[in-house]
């Protein structure tokens, strides 16, 4: 009884806040938890296939969206949260909102993207059937403390997993792979791309976790794709990368096809997104979806119409201008976005970087100094750099100290105004790359929507 009061009160609150235009996605979850603290556990216990939690520093949203496409492909609905709603109240909101009238088919499975800090709680309340971990990079350290703290939080969730649960781990990330040590059911995914597909070496300082998680010695890499992701082994204790069960073996950038190997089977999957990090997201999503026993030959079809989530290298047209939006939130992610921009063949590129330092962005902007603009800057072919946001001057300084000439850098503190100016001042041959932090992205989205320039955005 209490459960239903909680669910319906929360749904009512959600409805009211949507109508009044204040789209707080956490409010219904907060209300529901206040009325019935066990609401999340109770609701997930009704799911016949249980819960998959997906966590990690980067790629959560895209991996979850790809996995959701695969899991829903055969018409079975799943519960899937929105990117902004990945704290425990957000997960609760998601489950509460998913309680439909009986005429709709009930979802059997929930795939929940979960913030690292919410993992212990989420583990305890959902006893997941699978946990997927994408990678561990330094991110918003002002919130979580240190990388080892983050790893510890995920470990806590793993200890709460159902006894027949699967761990789905990125084999190429040492800290992630090590989570599988001494675990029963582990599925590893990784890359085994030809050498020329690896990225040029950028500043070594971006590498966070290249020490052996078992003994602490520096790891040796046979192959490194970016940051500390690759094929490694420890010269001291002999621990090495687990052999992945799902491996991306080929990435054809021209035809947008990624080949994934599983045992002796090869699958060709469409991937219409730039950046090697999206190859990881894809193969991670495949590995996650396969815990549910999807027919492998169906996968390509399921992904054909996949569109990246909002702000994850998503294309928008403003008048005749091509605009790409990509959220930036930590050094490795930012570096990867810049690499992807550099990969593009467009003749003229302008960049807009919008840095806010609100809580959701990370209040510490030090990380901008860990992005290797020194090496990347000259390689990207960007003619104009526009910088915006609450910390526009920190960003402008970063570019200046990276040797980007002053006349190529424009400071316009309001990102919306900056974008409008860029569209006005550029010709149609210019492609504009917008790289905002989280709250700047939200502001830009609202601005674009108000101007009617966007396709229908999916949340998150």
């Amino acid at each position: 009884m209490r459960l239903w009061v909680a669910v319906w009160a929360a749904r009512l609150v959600g409805l009211v806040s949507r109508i009044s235009g204040r789209g707080g996605s956490s409010l219904p979850g907060m209300v529901a938890r206040r009325i019935d603290p066990l609401v999340l556990s109770k609701l997930v216990s009704r799911l016949s296939k249980g819960v998959i939690l997906l966590t990690g520093t980067n790629g959560k949203t895209t991996t979850a969206a790809l996995a959701a496409s695969l899991l829903q492909c055969d018409g079975h609905p799943i519960v899937h949260n929105q990117a902004g709603a990945n704290l425990i109240v957000g997960l609760t909101s998601t489950m509460v909102q998913a309680e439909k009238w009986r005429v709709y088919p009930r979802a059997a499975l929930a795939l929940l993207e979960t913030d690292e800090a919410s993992m212990p709680r989420a583990g305890q309340e959902t006893h997941p059937r699978a946990i997927v971990v994408t990678n561990f990079f330094r991110d918003q350290l002002d919130r979580y403390g240190e990388l080892s703290t983050t790893v510890g939080m995920v470990r806590k969730a793993i200890s709460q997993m159902a006894s027949d649960g699967w761990l789905v781990l990125n084999a190429d990330d040492p800290q992630v792979a090590f989570l599988g040590q001494d675990q029963q059911h582990v599925i590893y995914f990784g890359l085994d791309l030809p050498v020329n597909a690896t990225l040029e070496e950028t500043g070594d300082d971006v590498v966070d976790a290249r020490f052996c998680p078992r003994c602490g010695q520096a790891l040796r890499y046979r192959q490194r794709y970016y940051a500390h992701l690759g094929d490694y082994s420890c010269p001291n204790c002999g621990w090495s990368r687990p052999i992945p069960h799902w491996t991306a073996t080929l990435w054809d950038k021209q035809s947008h096809i990624v080949t994934v190997r599983h045992g002796n089977d090869l699958m060709e999957l469409p991937m219409n997104m730039p950046g090697i990090y999206n190859v990881y997201n894809l193969v991670g999503a495949v590995a996650a979806a396969m815990t549910q026993g999807l027919p492998a030959h169906e996968m390509g079809r399921c992904l054909e119409h996949f569109e990246p989530a909002f702000g994850r290298m998503e294309q928008v047209m403003i008048r005749d201008h091509q605009i790409w939006l990509a959220l930036v939130k930590n050094p490795v992610g930012f570096t990867q976005v810049l690499e992807a921009v550099g990969d593009w063949p467009e003749s003229s590129k302008w960049a807009l970087i919008a840095i806010n330092d609100r809580y959701a962005d990370g209040q510490d902007v030090s990380w901008l100094w860990d992005v290797d603009f020194e090496t990347l800057g000259p390689r990207l072919g960007i003619d104009q750099w526009w910088v915006s946001g609450m910390r526009a001057y920190d960003m402008a300084l970063r570019l200046k100290y990276a040797g980007i000439p002053d006349e190529k850098v424009h400071v316009v503190e309001n990102p919306n105004i900056a974008l409008d100016m860029m569209v006005d001042q550029s010709t149609r041959t210019v492609t504009i790359y917008v790289m905002p932090t989280y709250t700047a992205l939200l502001d830009l989205r609202q601005h674009l929507t108000q101007k009617g320039y966007t396709r229908h955005f999916r949340e998150g």
Binding site: D142, D205, V365, A396, Y401
Partner: protein, 252 residues
């Protein structure tokens, strides 16, 4: 003594443990030193001092060391102790050192981690560090007694340790916003001769160009008699600086 008479056109910057101690944009400080020296025609060679690697101390003109996670800090602590005699000899000669966060803690007598592990420091600064909770996190605005204009230093702090100054230590600055050394005595950082230990990152030097220039002037002339380098524009730097100062004004 004039600027031109003792001008050095080449400086060697020793970056200690860049692999282990590189939290929170520490390399931004190295970038700032290299940049502002370079604009003045001074070429800075950055030399990495890693675990067990020999260091040509006689050629070192300035030293930088950043922060690290506790586990990384404990990995280098022993090596750092072995280097203490040579390092302190050079610091006593007057070469500048900037030590941020974990490096600052290891310049003191000891640092006790949250797990209760006691990491001995080299004791160059008369400070000790005890664990504390919660972590001190946020913007910092403080005022230093160093001969720089403006007197404000700004940055971002993120540390669990609480550092207490002994009678032989001089604080770097007085806190106006933030926690600083320990959240109690309104001090931030410590200094001795031309060595500065501080919790400020952000990165510190890019938005404190006056401090960058002071460190460079000490590197050029360790006797400290050279007070001014060739003047150089710092308007963009000060815009980033003043944004944080303004946040401090509100709480003053």
């Amino acid at each position: 003594m004039g600027w031109t008479s003792i001008k050095k056109s080449h400086l060697t910057l020793l970056h200690l443990y860049p692999d282990h101690m590189n939290l929170y944009g520490d390399r931004g400080n190295v970038i700032a030193l290299v940049h502002r020296a370079g604009r003045r025609g001074i070429d800075v060679e950055v030399v990495a001092g890693e675990l067990g690697k020999p260091i040509g101390w006689q050629h070192v003109d300035m030293v930088f060391m950043g922060g690290g996670e506790d586990s990384h800090q404990s990995r280098i602590a022993e090596d750092f102790l072995l280097r203490a005699p040579e390092l302190t000899r050079r610091l006593d000669d007057g070469i500048p050192m900037l030590a941020i966060c974990g490096a600052y803690q290891l310049l003191g007598h000891y640092y006790r981690t949250v797990d209760g592990q006691k990491l001995p420091g080299i004791g160059y600064l008369d400070v000790t560090t005890e664990p504390g909770r919660p972590r001190a996190i946020g913007d910092v605005v403080c005022e230093t007694t160093l001969p720089i204009v403006p007197a404000t230093l700004v940055g971002f702090e993120n540390h669990g340790g609480r550092t207490f100054l002994g009678s032989g230590a001089t604080p770097l600055a007085t806190i106006y916003r933030g926690q600083g050394n320990n959240g109690q005595d309104h001090t931030e950082g410590a200094m001795k001769l031309h060595t500065i230990g501080t919790y400020l990152h952000g990165s510190l030097l890019p938005k404190n160009p006056h401090l960058t220039d002071l460190l460079l002037s000490w590197a050029v002339d360790p006797s400290g008699s050279l007070m001014d380098l060739a003047p150089m524009d710092m308007s963009l730097e000060m815009k980033a600086h003043e944004l944080i100062v303004a946040r401090g004004e509100k709480v003053r």
